[in-house]
């Protein structure tokens, strides 16, 4: 029994990190209908910000989280202006943006690899290797802190979307772009801001990732399928769905990893992605099968 609780806790802690990694992706898809395959590599970029801040100035990744978020959000604005704004009128928009973000992912991966080499990196603040003990059960501090911070950020995002006037506009655009525009929402600006927020969330997630996983530029391909499985299972565009899916899949993966070996735990996400696309392409909370 203690073993089951232990695995459950480890899974939940990872689920918290995955939730933040996936929520930015979900937001960008919801508002812009962009399946951002470059999201994982932008998380990687955020992780490098945290890594170098820790390495050069000895700053704690949790402290540099806002800095990483702001730097990445600014990157998001630039990318939006340079690349995605002009694609808005493209006939095969969704397909086009997938290919574009895929190419963008390669560009960023290549840039990161050139600048920082493909060496495995990890930031190691004291808490990353420490743990709380409750009887036989241990809770790794790093993952616990990361999970808490991640849930705090997601809650703040949810409150912003629910209660602020701009949040209304974002949700309206998500539900129906044309209708929102008719009612006087500047959908272009909403698109820009939510894209920036989404990429900013990638930066924040990167700071957490920097001490939870070891990373190197080419690793983002693995994350693409992991994050896609979260977002697709939760229902593309639904942030709450993404969070729920993160916890479900992380816990399932933890159990599979514990009983069948670590290799198969990664496979959980990919197989889940496949199965969801086939059985219920709109995911748990997706309403229309827009993607199908």
């Amino acid at each position: 029994m203690a073993e089951v609780i232990q695995i459950l806790i480890l899974g939940m802690a990872l689920g918290g990190v995955y939730a933040l990694m996936g929520s930015g992706l979900s937001l960008v898809f919801g508002v812009m209908r962009i399946v951002n395959l470059a999201h994982p590599v932008l998380i990687m970029a955020g992780a490098y910000v945290a890594y170098w801040a820790a390495r050069l100035y000895g700053l704690d990744p949790l402290l540099t989280l806002p800095i990483a978020a702001v730097i990445l959000a600014a990157t998001g604005v630039i990318l939006y202006k340079l690349v995605f704004e002009r694609e808005a009128r493209s006939a095969k928009y969704s397909e086009m943006t997938v290919l574009l973000t895929f190419a963008l992912a390669m560009v960023i991966e290549g840039a990161l690899g050139t600048a920082f080499t493909n060496t495995q990196r990890v930031t190691s603040p004291d808490y990353a290797t420490d743990a709380f003990f409750i009887g036989d059960i241990f809770i790794p501090k790093g993952q616990l802190y990361a999970g808490i911070v991640s849930l705090a950020i997601i809650s703040a995002l949810a409150l912003f979307l629910k209660y602020s006037r701009f949040g209304y506009a974002i949700r309206a655009t998500t539900q129906n772009r044309e209708a929102a525009e008719l009612l006087g929402v500047n959908v272009n600006f909403v698109g820009l801001v939510s894209f920036a927020i989404g990429i900013g969330l990638a930066g924040a997630a990167g700071s957490l990732v920097s001490f939870v996983f070891s990373f190197f530029p080419a690793k983002h391909w693995e994350w693409i399928a992991v994050l896609m499985s979260l977002v697709v299972l939760g229902g593309m565009g639904s942030i709450f769905g993404t969070v729920l899916a993160s916890f479900i899949l992380a816990v399932v993966a933890a159990f599979i990893g514990a009983y069948f070996g670590a290799t198969w735990s990664t496979l959980t996400f990919f197989v889940a992605l496949f199965v969801v696309l086939l059985v219920r392409p709109q995911g748990i909370f997706g309403e229309k099968p827009e993607l199908a």
């Binding site: 969704s94 895929f102 992605l273």
Partner: protein, 343 residues
């Protein structure tokens, strides 16, 4: 009033169609692809005068990408289903032929068609599953496929796991060692271009193009879209698998991190986008360009990281400014040289 006989109308129609066909074929420069093929077949004669192994390798490399990109084009270009996971079939073809070669010594060149069939069969099965979804979902599912196969191959001890299997190099003198693979790839490339042409001009190909324009309308016009696109998936996997089979023996090893890296499948996609998706000459033009780019970047900049960056950058610029590719853009401007009009 004289009534119109249906038969008369049909006969007139047929005569008119036949006239159109003649018009097109008069314009077509058949001699050009034939000349290119003849030159490529004679190229190894240079080996009598000196060492041109590097040139042979480059043409072989280009031809291998022509095979793969032409195959990819049948699904991605004609049918409009973009797959970023076609290197799975490259790996399956390579492993199937490579393992038989390692155990029984049967040359992979002989095995290539069978490896293609195995890959095609797998493509048919995968297509049954993933072609239920369209657009971005299909692209994502193809990426997931690569990840699944990578994990499977890396943990399958029978095929050597992550370390892969080494294959025996042939014992020809170094001057001629590349030639069997060279001829295999050049002939496969010619075959794949010819097959793509035949498919595009068949009723099947017309159905595929109808699917890429509007699948629902195609379905209501009586096309069995499910069967058509699954078959297109299988055929495209066939060509990619065939290329993989010979590639393994040429490299003398099969290993997941050679066959199942994303760069291989990206190159197929990028070649078609560069050259022009859905055109016959596109994959050939794209392959020549991409291999030249690659050689240029590796020669001048060296590192593979920069190669990834450059590949991504070319892909982005091409998608943003020339989404139709070179052949497609020129054709739209009506400036396509006759020698490249293979459609």
């Amino acid at each position: 009033m004289a009534s119109l006989d249906t038969n008369d109308v049909l006969v007139a129609r047929k005569a008119y169609n036949a006239g159109l066909v003649q018009d097109v074929s008069k314009e077509r420069a058949y001699w050009f692809p034939a000349l290119v093929l003849a030159l490529l077949l004679l190229l190894p004669a240079l080996q009598f005068t000196g060492n041109y192994n590097y040139l042979i390798h480059l043409v072989l490399f280009t031809a291998s990408y022509v095979v793969m990109a032409s195959g990819w084009n049948i699904l991605g270009g004609f049918t409009g289903y973009i797959s970023l996971g076609h290197n799975v079939f490259f790996a399956v073809g390579g492993y199937f032929a490579g393992m038989i070669f390692a155990r029984y010594g049967i040359s992979t060149i002989v095995l290539a068609p069978f490896a293609g069939l195995v890959a095609g069969l797998l493509g048919y099965l995968v297509g049954q599953i993933t072609l239920r979804v369209r657009g971005p979902s299909f692209i994502i599912s193809s990426l997931a496929l690569v990840m699944i196969f990578r994990i499977l191959f890396e943990n399958w001890d029978f095929v050597g796991g992550a370390a892969g299997v080494s294959l025996k190099a042939n014992d020809l003198p170094v001057q001629w060692a590349k030639l069997p693979y060279y001829y295999a790839f050049v002939l496969m490339a010619a075959f794949s271009v010819w097959a793509a042409y035949r498919i595009k001009h068949s009723k099947f190909g017309l159905g595929l193009r109808a699917i890429s324009k509007d699948e629902i309308k195609a379905e209501s016009a009586g096309i069995n879209t499910r069967f058509y696109k699954t078959l297109a998936f299988a055929i495209s996997a066939f060509f990619v698998g065939m290329a993989g089979a010979v590639w393994g023996e040429y490299l003398t090893y099969i290993r997941p991190n050679i066959f199942l890296i994303i760069l291989v499948s990206v190159n197929m996609v990028l070649i078609c986008i560069l050259g022009g998706k859905g055109t016959i000459a596109g994959p050939v033009v794209g392959a020549v360009l991409l291999v030249s780019f690659n050689e240029f970047f590796v020669a001048t900049l060296g590192a593979s990281e920069i190669n990834i960056l450059a590949t991504g950058l070319i892909m982005m610029l091409c998608l943003m400014f020339f989404p139709l590719g070179i052949v497609g853009t020129l054709a739209r401007l009506r400036k396509l040289p006759r020698i490249l009009n293979w459609d």
